[in-house]
């Protein structure tokens, strides 16, 4: 039997406001070359600036992946010619990655992180009828590259690793980590060998379109490489392959050239960056809570597993819950969020931040439910109303007329209770004193907090008082 060895390189676009080495907006656009200045285009004479926010985001990611930090780091130039590379070099961190030697816990084991470094993205090449055109919107978009150690031994390991990595980055809020939109890109190195023998020849599979497909690609590679070895052949050269997601097979793109010479040297236009302990601690203190901690917390608060899973899977819901969790009953809140609210969000493709139900009226609603002021039946009516119209729960209740008790059975009970405790008034009534009715109505209103429908209540009162036996 062969042992599989997998290492993964992930490029992640950071969602900073501006690009990493210029003040151009970091924004996706279908219109090409909209967010571009002379620096992004590599014009003669330009110099890079350095986006501090990007360093902080990369530092957050490094800390979240348990990396050691290079407290004095510099940038390097990676020199090569390619049309999508305006300066003829990419600014990256070859010598001093901001983070190194970390790990991700995937449950049953830890996967090592070799390094995490900051670099700039290239232009996007668009191949069309007029030849290849360049879109520089992407040029200079900040990336972090996360290189794992070759610690994964199966497709399952790889899928778990990527799922976990994605979740961590998502919760840091530093990237959209959408593989399908290219904000997270996975390249995967796969080799197989017999335990106790030297490692096999690495095959790289580039730009795989989803986390599950990474698993599929590795599965196929294990099969393909095993067949070669079983035939007594060798895997002679390192290759770059791609996954064809229709057939779920990998296809050769090119045999890797040996000795790729990028002529790295320290970027002379950017002075060394010192990450002081104060700065690191500051970034650490402002890091969001991670999914694992939140899961644990929600469990302890009594939220059920299904709800936890749903909420953790939707960052907006999770952040919303976090913003109210100290002032409401968490179980009721989670039920509401994962019920009608989530249905609405899903149906309308919106995030919870884009609707009129907010922290304030949501808290009011939850507290009214737990305080017994609002029934779950009323809540069902209130939720869509609040989502569409906003405002306070109190106003919504008024507008929807939910504050009147019209239920005759309920009112019957209340009226009976009032009569039972006011024999004097019944006596007065029997004596022909009209103000007794007025008084009793007042008592009914008092009992219902003013919510009893006066007409119905009065009707019931009149019919009950007539036959009331003192």
């Amino acid at each position: 039997m062969y042992e599989t060895v997998v290492g993964i390189e992930v490029h992640v676009e950071l969602k900073s406001n501006s690009k990493v080495f210029s003040h151009s907006q970091n924004e996706y656009s279908t219109e090409p070359n909209l967010y571009v200045n002379e620096i992004d285009l590599g014009y003669p004479g330009v110099l890079p600036v350095l986006n501090k926010k990007v360093i902080e985001m990369a530092l957050q990611a490094s800390l979240a992946l348990n990396c050691k930090i290079n407290k004095v780091m510099h940038f390097d130039r990676k020199n090569y010619f390619y049309p999508d590379l305006p300066k003829g070099y990419q600014i990256t961190e070859q010598d001093t990655p901001i983070g190194y030697d970390g790990y991700i816990d995937i449950g049953d084991k830890k996967i090592g992180i070799e390094r995490l470094h900051i670099e700039e993205d290239t232009c996007k090449s668009i191949h069309g009828k007029r030849g290849t055109m360049l879109d520089a919107n992407r040029a200079g978009v900040p990336l972090i590259e996360i290189v794992s150690k070759p610690d994964m031994r199966s497709p399952e390991d790889a899928v778990k690793y990527l799922t976990k990595l994605r979740e961590i980055l998502l919760y840091l809020g530093i990237s959209d980590v959408k593989i399908e939109e290219g904000s997270m890109r996975c390249d995967c190195n796969v080799s197989i060998h017999k335990p106790g023998t030297p490692l096999g020849t690495k095959i790289e599979i580039k730009n795989i379109g989803s986390i599950n497909n990474v698993g599929e690609a590795i599965k196929y590679e294990i099969k393909r490489q095993s067949e070669i070895l079983d035939n007594g052949d060798k895997i002679e050269h390192e290759e770059t392959r791609r996954l064809d997601d229709k057939t779920m097979t990998t296809i050769l793109m090119r045999v890797k050239e040996t000795g790729n010479d990028y002529r790295y040297f320290p970027e002379p236009d950017i002075p060394y960056v010192e990450l002081s302990d104060d700065w690191i601690n500051d970034v650490k203190a402002n890091m969001p809570v991670f999914a694992d901690e939140l899961k644990e917390k929600y469990k302890n608060l009594g939220i059920n597993d299904n709800n936890i899973k749903t909420i953790i899977g939707r960052l907006d819901l999770c952040q919303f819950l976090e913003s109210v969790i100290d002032s409401v009953d968490p179980v009721t809140a989670s039920n509401l969020l994962t019920g009608d609210i989530l249905s609405y969000l899903n149906k309308n493709y919106v995030s919870i931040n884009k609707i009129k139900l907010n922290k304030d009226n949501f808290s009011e609603l939850v507290n009214d439910i737990t305080g017994g002021k609002i029934s779950s039946k009323q809540a069902k009516e209130l939720v869509p109303y609040l989502i569409e119209n906003g405002g306070s729960v109190k106003d919504a209740v008024d507008t929807l007329g939910l504050n009147e008790i019209t239920d005759t059975n309920a009112l019957n009970d209340i009226v009976k209770r009032v009569l039972d405790s006011n024999p004097e008034s019944i006596k007065d009534y029997n004596d022909g004193k009209d103000r007794a009715i007025k008084y009793l109505m007042g008592q009914i209103m008092k009992e219902t907090g003013g919510k009893a429908n006066p007409a119905i209540a009065s009707q019931i009162l009149m019919s009950l008082i007539k036959d009331y036996k003192l």
Binding site: P44, R77, K87, D261, P266, D269
Partner: protein
Amino acid sequence: MSKYLDLSIKEINELLKNKTIKPLDLVNEAFERIESSNLNAFITLNKEEALKEAKELENKEIDNILFGIPVAIKDNIVTKGLRTTAASHILDDFDPIYDAEVVRKIKDSHMIIIGKTNMDEFAMGSTGETSYFGNTLNPWDNTMVPGGSSSGSAAAVSARLVPIALGTDTGGSIRQPSSFCGTVGLKPTYGRVSRYGLIAFASSLDQIGPITRNVIDNALMLNVIAGRDDKDLTSSYEDVTDYTSLIGKDIKNLKIAVPDFYMSDAIDKEVRNKVTNIIDMLKKAGCTVHSISMKYVENAIPLYQVIALGEASSNLARYDGVKYGYVTSEYKDIEQLYKMTRYEGFGREVKRRLMIGSYILSGKNADKYYRKALIVRKKLTDEFKDVLSKYDLIIGPTNTDSAYPLGTKQDDALKSFYDDLLTIPVNMAGLPAMSLPIGFKNGMPVGMHIIGNYFKEEVIYQLASYIEKELNLNLDPRGDK
């Protein structure tokens, strides 16, 4: 023909203020002089725009001493809408979309940009002869090199075509041509002047500085261009001072070092004698002058070849025919587009240096050469720091000799680097330094080198102004006016 441009900046400013002349008079005079000059000092003239600006200035208040003064800009500093070529075929139709920071500051001071000066291609050369637009002539003797790479800037100022020009200095490119042309050229401290918009040759060495006819004009110009620029991360936060503040001040307490390397047999004897005379003069004036020895300065040329050429090979990678500049006419694929564009677009000296630079950074060579060079550079820098902790200034000759005939060193790639034997160490350490005319050898100017401590340009000006006043040289190459 008027002769306002023979006057000092201060005198011109007086005439402007009392309305004897208008900026337009200065601009007209500059173009008359340039158009009747045979020096090939300019690549592109900014005539139409300059005349327009001069007229516009008539309605503006004279708010600073450089108001309305014509200035020439070396053609590796980008000027929005004004062709900027770096004297290369590969950029010979390049029209920048933005202004360099120094150009922005010049425009803010209402100085008038007359044109872009000739230079060695991408500032690679020390004779002006590698320019795609032909070499510049030395105003003192048209058979002699003007020096380089700021050949046009030095020649234009020397010949009184413009009172002030900007040069750039990577290994001596302001000081050496200043020395050969008899002008005052200052390379400021690395980081004193923003490099934003300077077409990079070697990023860790390049610096923009003024070339003028006299010391005070030079200091006035540095006042305009110095200062932190957030667009250049290597520019310094160090406070800017008035660089004229020590001019004319007593020099008797200055402590001055003369490294023996700067007075060795490698330097022409007559040049050394001139410097020795100055040393005697300074001693008489009460300066302390000591001969010292420095261990690492002799490594400067190999250091330069490794660091400058390594960086250049990367800085010039962007000229690939894809985005701007020259593109070859026929190619069948991207590989050929690159190769032919660069083969046809760059001159011989540039290609030679790019090849050496690429080799130096290749594979294991990066450790063998580049990283080792950085270590030696640090040692050299520390040695300078040590000397300057004991002395205010270091002096010596700017060059090994005065200007030599055109065509002499073109085919000897190594020899031309030796012109910069004494200037390169200063770039390696990032120090400020000036070349000041101190006399003539066979009718050609000889320059003295004054090296200062970091961000202490005003002390250089202090000493230079004293020597200038004492010598009172006639530095006008036109002979009898």
